[in-house]
């Protein structure tokens, strides 16, 4: 019997849900004139408790709960901490960045927290239907948040584009799940994994995998499923972009790892070349397009596509090496990307007065702190040693080299040389002396909450770059649990439907 109460298996999700509900209730019950900013602190506190609860879950024996639908393991804890950390940074950032007069602030914070519930659940679900529900929870929150800035035309445009394409992609995932059920008679991950290699209708399994891959690769904005990314990033409010360019991607990569390494390890010969092509396409398309952008957010959107490519390179690695490299890269990418968007929020402001690369000219002369931070994060994105970006790329490409994909590693590293060109262009413009005829720009306002968010990102980026040992160890134990799933006997709730 399972000695761990089921509720412990989803403790972080429960805490986050309660936080979100509390925010909505308080928001509705206090007088309209009162400031809503403090609801953000409530959300941040709830998220912090959720991080603590995730870490506490490590002390539980690994296993599943709720009839084999959710799992706690080093893998889920790794991604829970990562996602909640990103959400915490995004909340702190929004606290200072959201204008005080903006309406529906309570909803804004509640949606971020509900999105976090979906993302966390996505990483811990081991039942494909629950995976689908979790994905929808996180996606729907993100769709609404993307359109939060209704006063400009671009916000709603971004939201509708994201919503239509996203729903379409989720449809692919759902089709894949249905076909899995058709081929194996189950949607429980471990049972499906056991039955998929012996299923009689192998083309069906193959089709299921292909459809699921399409759905997930859309969520991680890998080429050729990336076209939504630049428009959505450009239109969405920047604090939301800091969140949605990292946390849902981390969750989707966790799902991708689970799908390819846990359900379809026997189809490696099929998905490995596929992901190889997608990786190369993503890097190359992302970097080439980013080179030509003048808008900073669009440039970073294309760079996000390229980073999805670098991360996918890790999937060429064998077994747990590849998984650990991918998990590490996710963490490093999240830290530096949150950081870079945080600085952009602080410099450009919520209404985005500054959006072009040229607008950042002389930032280091206007504000040495923000200028240096922006350069720091860009350097990490380039992948200079002693920053998290370096070890992320390093582990990813050495996993690829270890897996025999030397060509992939070389293409990837040449791509990172290409990427250096546009990151550096922004960094150097930041360092350039301001033009004499330039209008005096206001000093950006930097509040303590935003400082805390940026400091968190700097700290994580530096720790991952200088002493990556602990994080790598965590990623490796996460990889290990994905390789060796808990015993299926712990999930007696679902009878094994074999004998097709």
């Amino acid at each position: 019997m399972n000695p761990v109460p089921d509720i412990y298996r989803i403790l972080p999700e429960v805490i986050l849900t309660l936080t979100g509900v509390a925010i909505m209730l308080v928001d509705a019950s206090i007088p309209p004139a009162w400031p809503r900013r403090y609801l953000g602190f409530l959300a941040a506190i709830g998220t912090t408790i959720a991080i603590w609860a995730s870490v506490w879950q490590l002390s539980l024996p690994e296993g599943t709960g709720f009839f084999g639908t959710v799992e706690t393991s080093a893998f889920t804890v790794f991604f829970h901490v990562l996602i909640c950390g990103i959400v915490l940074a995004a909340l702190l950032l929004s606290l200072d960045a959201l204008p005080t007069y903006s309406h529906h602030q309570g909803e804004f914070y509640a949606l971020i927290v509900f999105g976090a519930v979906g993302m966390c659940l996505l990483t811990s679900a081991v039942e494909l239907l629950l995976v689908f529900i979790a994905l929808e929870i996180s996606s729907i929150s993100t769709y609404i948040l993307a359109g939060y800035r209704k006063e400009t035309g671009r916000g709603p445009e971004a939201a509708i584009k994201y919503f239509l394409l996203g729903s379409f992609a989720t449809g692919f995932l759902l089709y894949g799940i249905a076909l899995i059920f058709g081929a194996t008679g189950t949607t429980q991950v471990y049972q499906a994994a056991r039955l998929a290699p012996v299923a009689q209708n192998q083309p069906l399994v193959l089709a299921a995998m292909a459809l699921m891959l399409v759905g997930i690769l859309f969520k991680v904005s890998a080429a050729p499923f990336h076209v939504w990314t630049p428009d959505v990033y450009e239109g969405a409010p920047t604090p939301v972009v800091a969140l949605m360019s990292t946390a849902p991607k981390a969750a989707a990569f966790a799902l991708l790892l689970r799908v390819v390494y846990e359900i379809f390890p026997h189809l490696r010969s099929v998905w490995e070349p596929l992901l190889w092509i997608v990786a190369v396409l993503s890097m190359t398309v992302g970097n080439l397009a980013a080179l030509r952008q003048q808008n900073v957010k669009r440039m970073l959107a294309y760079s996000a596509i390229a980073h999805a490519g670098y991360l996918l390179a890790a999937f060429a690695g064998i077994g747990s090496i590849g998984i650990a490299a991918a998990a590490f890269y996710t963490a490093a990418y999240a830290a530096m990307n949150v950081g870079v968007f945080a600085v952009i929020v602080l410099v450009a402001g919520y209404d985005e007065q500054l959006s072009l690369i040229g607008d950042f000219r002389g930032l280091i002369y206007r504000s040495p702190l923000l200028g240096s931070l922006l350069i720091f994060f860009l350097i990490s994105l380039i992948g200079i040693p002693f920053t998290g970006g370096f070890f992320g790329k390093f582990y990813s490409f050495s996993a690829a080299v270890g897996g025999g994909a030397i060509a992939l590693a070389i293409i990837g590293l040449l791509n990172s040389g290409l990427a250096a060109a546009y990151y550096l262009r922004l960094a150097l413009v930041t360092a350039q002396r301001p033009a004499e005829d330039e209008p005096a720009r206001p000093m950006p306002h930097v509040g303590p909450a935003a400082i805390a968010a940026v400091a968190l990102a700097v700290l994580v980026t530096l720790v991952l770059g200088i002493v990556p040992g602990a994080t790598l160890h965590a990623a490796q134990s996460a990889a290990h649990t994905l390789q060796v799933p808990p015993q299926p006997s712990e999930a007696p709730g679902i009878p094994l439907q074999s004998g097709q």
């Binding site: 040693p385 250096a420 150097l428």
Partner: protein
């Protein structure tokens, strides 16, 4: 004493970094960042002097070694140490740092905090490159050395900073991608980043020769761009033109040349020997091409850039001559070039601050108005040309004579032609700047000769040029046991055996069968 010997290199790495953080944290008030930076660099310089003071001459192998695990997977060790090849380079970087700070005292007026903290980070990166014996740590510092340089060129560029900085960064960064793949490939084959271990593996012949060719080429390519070797010099002139004086002084040549000796020829002697004729030809082309272009420049920064191309190519010639004398001369010439180039840069920087132009034609007849500056400049120029009794002579003579007797006579003759051209452009620069009729520009400004502070920086450099020219054995004694050009059979077999033990397990190309190799002992000196 041993405790200091153990930690001296770590201290040299950490003191500038601590200074950088201190500068970044303290307020930018009055000259505070300048003083902190000056103090830090002076302390670092004193620390670097500990190395020659306690260096055991005549002993081969690394000294002041520290080797502790840093990251478990991959197995990266914090492994640092110096030998005769690198020790004086560390001291040179230590010496140029306070001079660079002093040279920036007046030139850098805005955002001093950012300037000095990045300048100090640059110091750490340079020291790191010279002392790292773990390939990953080395690569880390190598890449790190790009960042402060690029940012500072962008911030303080004379005309078009960001473009020059981008050029500088990309020229060095893109070749380092294959370098990283090559390092990872070596690690995948051997399981170590340790320099001595890798040196043993590459010499033992268990790695596939075909792949080794490409690995060695990746190393060479990255270093050749950094030096730069002839067709890869596109970044050099713009960088010299735009970089703040203090940084132009520290950037040129040293990192790339040292890396060639240590990590290209040192790790891949067979491959280096195969490519040596090509590199010798490129080096000669570089010597002549640089000298010819220097002859026709109208801007003194660009002239210095092409002069540097010519001089650095001469050192490349010495390196790929693969002779012991040539290598000693190469190291000596790197040191001499650092000092001489540093002094000339300082003087040109002084001129540019006073007259606000770097166009040679605007100057003329300065010698009567700035007699001290003229004297120092002439001494520096003569040292650069290679006048006997000054430092440049020893290096150039050693290089040319060893090339003539041991490598190729025609190569030596062509290279000597480049040296003669060097005299032509340097002397004509001296003539145009300091002699001849006074130009309208020189008349229009009040004569302001070198002040006490400037003299205090320049005099030690000039004295050093003289001492290096008169008593080269002070340096050669330490350099010679440290250089191991692979042409000498003796040096090949004197490779230190891997620290792990007597038996090594290697996985041969693809197969899972371990191949046993026992270390051969006949070569231990």
């Amino acid at each position: 004493m041993t405790a200091i010997d153990q930690s001296i290199l770590t201290l040299i790495l950490l003191v500038p970094l601590a200074g950088a953080i201190l500068v970044a944290l303290l307020p930018d008030r009055a000259k505070l960042p300048n003083w902190i930076a000056l103090f830090t660099t002076l302390v670092t310089f004193v620390l670097t002097l500990h190395l020659p003071a306690h260096f055991v001459s005549g002993q081969s192998g690394f000294q002041f070694e520290v080797n502790i695990p840093w990251i478990q997977s991959p197995a990266i060790y914090y492994h640092v140490g110096v030998d005769g090849l690198s020790m004086w380079l560390v001291v040179l970087v230590g010496l140029l740092a306070p001079i660079g700070v002093a040279a920036s005292w007046k030139a850098i007026e805005t955002r001093r905090k950012v300037f000095y903290s990045l300048f100090l980070v640059q110091q750490t990166a340079m020291f790191g490159v010279f002392v790292s014996l773990d390939l990953m740590v080395y690569y880390g510092f190598w890449e790190l050395s790009l960042v402060p340089m690029a940012v500072l060129i962008a911030m303080y560029g004379r005309k078009d900073g960001p473009r020059a900085a981008l050029k500088f960064f990309l020229f060095t960064f893109i070749p380092s991608a294959p370098l990283l793949v090559a390092i990872l490939w070596l690690y995948a084959r051997t399981g170590t980043f340790n320099f001595s271990d890798l040196q043993y593996y590459t010499a033992s012949g268990v790695l596939p020769a075909g792949a080794m060719f490409w690995v060695a080429l990746a190393f060479l390519f990255a270093f050749a761009v950094k030096v730069p070797v002839f067709p890869l010099h596109g970044w050099l002139a713009d960088t010299y033109n735009e970089a703040p004086v203090a940084l132009a002084m520290v950037v040129a040549g040293k990192l790339g040349l040292y890396s060639m000796m240590r990590f290209h020829v040192g790790l891949f002697p067979a491959q280096a020997r195969a490519l040596a004729p090509l590199l010798i030809i490129l080096a000669i082309v570089g010597v002549l091409y640089g000298a010819c272009l220097a002859l026709v420049q109208r801007d003194f920064w660009r002239l210095m850039a092409f002069a540097a191309l010519s001089h650095l190519s001469l050192i490349v010639l010495a390196i790929y001559g693969l002779t012991l004398t040539g290598w000693s001369g190469a190291v000596y010439q790197i040191l001499s070039h650092g000092v001489v180039d540093g002094a000339l840069f300082l003087l040109l920087g002084v001129l540019e601050v006073r007259y606000a132009t770097s166009a040679i034609a605007s100057y003329g007849g300065l010698a009567t108005r700035l007699p001290r500056a003229a004297t120092y400049f002439v001494i520096g120029a003569l040292a650069m040309i290679g006048l006997p009794m000054l430092s440049g002579f020893i290096g150039e003579f050693t290089i040319l004579s060893s090339t003539f007797t041991e490598v190729s006579r025609s190569a030596a003759i062509w290279a000597a032609l480049g040296v003669i051209l060097g005299a032509a452009y340097m002397l004509s620069l001296v003539q145009k700047l300091f002699y001849g009729p006074e130009s309208t520009l020189t008349i229009s400004r009040p004569p302001a000769d070198l002040k006490f502070g400037e003299l205090a920086i320049l005099t030690p450099l000039v004295v050093l040029m003289l001492v290096m020219g008169l008593a080269p054995s002070l340096w050669f004694n330490a350099i010679e046991p440290g250089v191991h050009p692979p042409a000498l059979r003796k040096s090949l077999v004197s490779l230190p055996a891997p620290a792990r033990g007597q038996v090594l397990l290697l996985w041969r190309n693809g197969s899972q069968q371990p191949v046993q190799i026992t270390t051969h002992t006949e070569g231990q000196r």
